[in-house]
Symmetry: C2
Subunit: 318 residues, 2 copies
């Protein structure tokens, strides 16, 4: 084992307890530490599983109704460099005590070199993909569904029942809709087919608003995509919101809930869903989670004079 890899992030592998020769310089680690954070909701155990970040170059047109200067100002307030949005990915695993439910599936390394660690982090959490019983999909953008299959088209979660929003399936699997698409949206159509075409018979569809599995209720949150869905999770007398893409980076989209990024297919509808969701979270002081919040991607929302602030959870022992 080389000196360099010895300090690397070793998922599920033995770590040799070798020492350097006395006085030897310490090599730099080559990867980030594991991204696994566990928390409780009633009797459920939740695990945030980090997949990585996509560094998206953005221009003045990224927000339809805000200037590039305003966006760079929002990034600077988060101590982030201008003109690049770090889009973080964190999947949520729910252990109900009887079932392991995974909400969205990570990128499986198929989107960018800086993401794809979700499976390694699942291994750090001590869980094999074959143990996942249920997968809930919020919407059909690649960063949420790519993890369903490997690049070679093999199923990543062999035993999981996959549930998708009915209007999402209807839109992205519709050839007439696809015939009108271009650019990234056309790629999303093609990618949806790559993932789902040969699974059409086994994929289960739910109507947003329905309880998909016991105690996990879907919430229509359309706008980002035509069938984009969030989830409320209930255990005992506790509830939380898994907000999916209703809110993304909190320094941009919670602080500025009216901003309409080009990622939101129907900007005005997405704003409505965002405000409804954030109002509910803030008013009820609910625990929230969002796929694109910075890891561990959970906390609470506070309403301010101009928007909302994320109060991240304080990292604690289990």
């Amino acid at each position: 084992m080389s000196a360099l890899s010895r300090r690397s992030f070793l998922a599920g592998a033995a770590l040799a307890a070798l020492s350097l020769p006395a006085g030897a310089a310490a090599p730099m680690a080559s990867a980030q530490g594991p991204g696994v954070y566990r928390y409780k909701l009633g009797s459920y155990q939740l695990t945030a599983l980090y997949d990585g970040v996509w560094y998206v170059p953005i221009d003045d047109k990224f927000i339809r109704n805000a200037s590039g200067a305003d966006v760079n100002k929002a990034l600077a307030a988060a101590f982030l460099p201008p003109r690049v949005l770090p889009i973080s990915f964190t999947a949520l695993l729910v252990n109900t005590g009887s079932k392991l439910v995974l909400i969205d599936t990570g990128t499986a390394g198929q989107l960018t070199d800086t993401a794809g660690s979700m499976l390694a982090n699942l291994a750090v959490a001590g869980i094999s993909p074959v143990e996942i019983d249920t997968i809930l999909i919020s919407h059909f953008h690649p960063d949420h569904i790519d993890g369903i299959k490997t690049k070679d088209g093999d199923k990543m979660f062999a035993n999981a029942e996959i549930w998708v929003p009915e209007p999402e399936w209807k839109f992205w699997m519709d050839d007439a809709q696809m015939s009108r698409a271009k650019g990234p949206v056309l790629r999303y159509f093609l990618n949806s087919r790559r993932i789902f075409s040969d699974m059409a018979k086994e994929v289960r569809q739910f109507k947003p608003g329905a309880e998909v599995v016991p105690s996990i209720v879907s919430i229509p949150a359309y706008g980002h995509t035509p069938g984009h869905t969030a989830f409320a999770i209930h255990s005992g007398n506790q509830s939380m919101l898994a907000m999916s893409d209703t809110v993304r980076n909190p320094y941009l989209f919670a602080r500025h809930p009216d901003w309409q990024p080009i990622f939101d297919m129907d900007g005005a509808l997405a704003v409505k869903a965002r405000r409804t969701m954030l109002d509910r979270a803030a008013a009820d002081r609910m625990l929230v989670e969002a796929y694109h919040f910075p890891f561990p991607a959970c906390g609470h929302m506070v309403k301010t004079a101009t928007g909302y602030e994320l109060v991240p959870v304080e990292w604690q022992p289990l």
Copy 2:
């Protein structure tokens, strides 16, 4: 390997990739995920190493100049329950490329059942205690020095040169001072002796303000204890502040910098050190780290109308 421990936090051990029988309920994990976060400063690699949390019951006298009601309000604003302060511990490892420097040493499990994971997280980071070249101590409170030795009095970091603030040594190792102490402060005197008495000849003392090791400059920040010290770390054209206990939980002590907790031996002097440190961090938009910030315990400080806000780093790949 039992089903229960299979999902546990396994530090430096092999993780068996066994599967549950199909349809078996998934056991809950018994411990939090690893707490290791790496970031860069110039050419240096920094690693935040989580040790745990001490849940301290607090009463109306906890802050000398604020009411219990105000403290509970500050806790509620952080979505924390009343009358309990979660005091988080995160040690900082600095890899300069030629030396491994550890700033403060964790509790080694000697303070509370909910802390003591620092060594396990060091192992997750791929580092053996014998590889640590230098230990810098901010002050002599048990949560910062207990990690120097095991309960049995053995050295935890066999090859490390230990540097302590001269005024801290002078105060806590002074028998006349100890003769006037009682309660927790007396225990701190006794604990300082437990750790340091048989190491007096090898422990190195620095004068706060001095560059202790190349590129790590100590900063006198007296008040919390008589010799309490912070550190500025420099690499290339970048600098950061390791603030030690100048600021603790940000929702209490950054938002309310004038609050004087009973932990600060000279409350007024500690407030002065706190405001000086926070003003510097905010004005220069410096990266900061603090031993009691929520893990990964690093971010930036923003000045507000009434105090300061921590903007935590966004978790990113290395």
